[in-house]
Symmetry: C2
Subunit: 337 residues, 2 copies
Amino acid sequence: MPRSRPVMRPRMGKDSPMNLVVLAGGVGGGRFLLGVRAVAQAANTQVTAIVNTGDDVWLHGLRICPDLDSVLYTLGGGADPARGWGLRDETWTVLEELAAYQAEPSWFGLGDRDLAAHLVRTGLLARGLGLSDVTEFLCRRWRPGVRLLPASDDGIETHVVVAVEGRAGETRRLHFQEWWIRHGARLPALRFDYVGAEEAAPAPGVPEAIAAADVVLIAPSNPVVSIGPILAVPGIREALRRCPAPIIGISPIISGAPVRGMADRCLAALGVPCSAAGVGELLGARRNGGLLDGWLVDSADDPTTVRDVPVLARPLWMTDEAATQAIVVDALALAHG
Amino acid sequence: MPRSRPVMRPRMGKDSPMNLVVLAGGVGGGRFLLGVRAVAQAANTQVTAIVNTGDDVWLHGLRICPDLDSVLYTLGGGADPARGWGLRDETWTVLEELAAYQAEPSWFGLGDRDLAAHLVRTGLLARGLGLSDVTEFLCRRWRPGVRLLPASDDGIETHVVVAVEGRAGETRRLHFQEWWIRHGARLPALRFDYVGAEEAAPAPGVPEAIAAADVVLIAPSNPVVSIGPILAVPGIREALRRCPAPIIGISPIISGAPVRGMADRCLAALGVPCSAAGVGELLGARRNGGLLDGWLVDSADDPTTVRDVPVLARPLWMTDEAATQAIVVDALALAHG
């Protein structure tokens, strides 16, 4: 699909930087942003990543923001590629000691190096800083090369409602992290609640970034628990609805299976088919009150159609940074198609 | 000074356990308690240590209780004897990472293994438990062999008021830990404030332990910043005033110098001579509204007298546990002298 036009059209004249906004979750969002950053660096483009905070959790008195940290570590070159989460050269002394105290919860993998970020964050929050200020502080070390904003400075927590085994009709709720890590997403989810989202304000800079965007991309992150909590913030939904820039989504589902993670189990709770078409319909056409001006699916999902949304099929496996760059270029092409 | 009577006289008949209460600070308090525990184990005696909380501090969002931890680690066999504080086999990964973030404060030695105790404590406090409950939880691991109680569950913080250099008459205040560790107690102290102490209640069990004591010992801890904050809690002062048991102090000053630490710099702020007699007079005779029914000083301080207080001079260097046991036996002898 060769195109003769430039991939991005500057709004304010040839020399003005362009603005690219990406809604993203954690590890997958971080990998996608590696490609976005590379494309942007070559094209005088400023990138703002708006990162999910629904995974955030208090553990052992610390505020832990798994998605922000994953993006930070990945873009900062600190992520462990083998383990797939957390930091390289990690050690586990504190976790062993916590086990010696039989301290609960014990199911969260708290590495020594990783812990430092949580300590910095919790200390700064205790001094009255907002999560976006804290994130800026952490960025001074990791220099991610993109502007990282939490979706909100207000606490949002994704809770999962599950059935109580053996007691028909009874349900209980647990934090997403507990469902995801402790239970490996195996307890069938009845519902996801983005607790606090409806009352949350977008973090400072988020509505402005969306309003000033030339293109908005939705990373191929879990649509239910990574993108969902971002969209659940009314001020973000509203900013996206109003923004003049095209909004392009990249499917996190290829050939009926999640690119990574367990999105299938999350989609099942919503009754959404685990397919590129299913997620596309979930996000919906902007003209029908949904989000999308374009939907990028994998070549394997070629016949996929989403009502009132232009669909482009291209290779979507983020096998390396070059492949990811190609995906970003395709998404930008679709934005101006 | 041989005595034919038993060292401790049971109150309720021969087989009832005796109750020994010790007011103590951190590292020195812990070492003293090693001797107390050994004597008690041989004598059907229950020991309650009431530990200073004025050193407690929030750092990086964590509640750190240096004196309680020092006592816990020392009695639990985890303390590092070479370094003189903290845990054996300690590693410093988290501290190195905090430095990479240029996170402040950077002057507090936060070991990885030590950190686990702070995480457990902060997590439990966040769930609404009191510091005494938390301490009991930490004791399940370290099994100190004595009952450990914080002086208070209410936050008490010792602040140091110092002159602002180059600005005559101006003062500023800093947390005791910052003065002690960051500045090595070198900034001349004008005053120590036990912030929160006047409004603090004794921790649950503290007044009861004092009321039920057969003997109360004041460990050879820093009288200003270890014993001072305990006595600054009105309910503890009152309980000591009323208790029927003799109160015996052990001098933390030998031959005009502190056994350990920098008590001299603390005493100077109060205008108290750095001597066994000076500290004895500071604590004062119980019959004159002070605390002491007896004052144990080192043999080198033999001619020391304290107004209206019986003084016994015996070797006071805690060179090993046997020497410390002998000190405890001498203190108990003085109690019933």
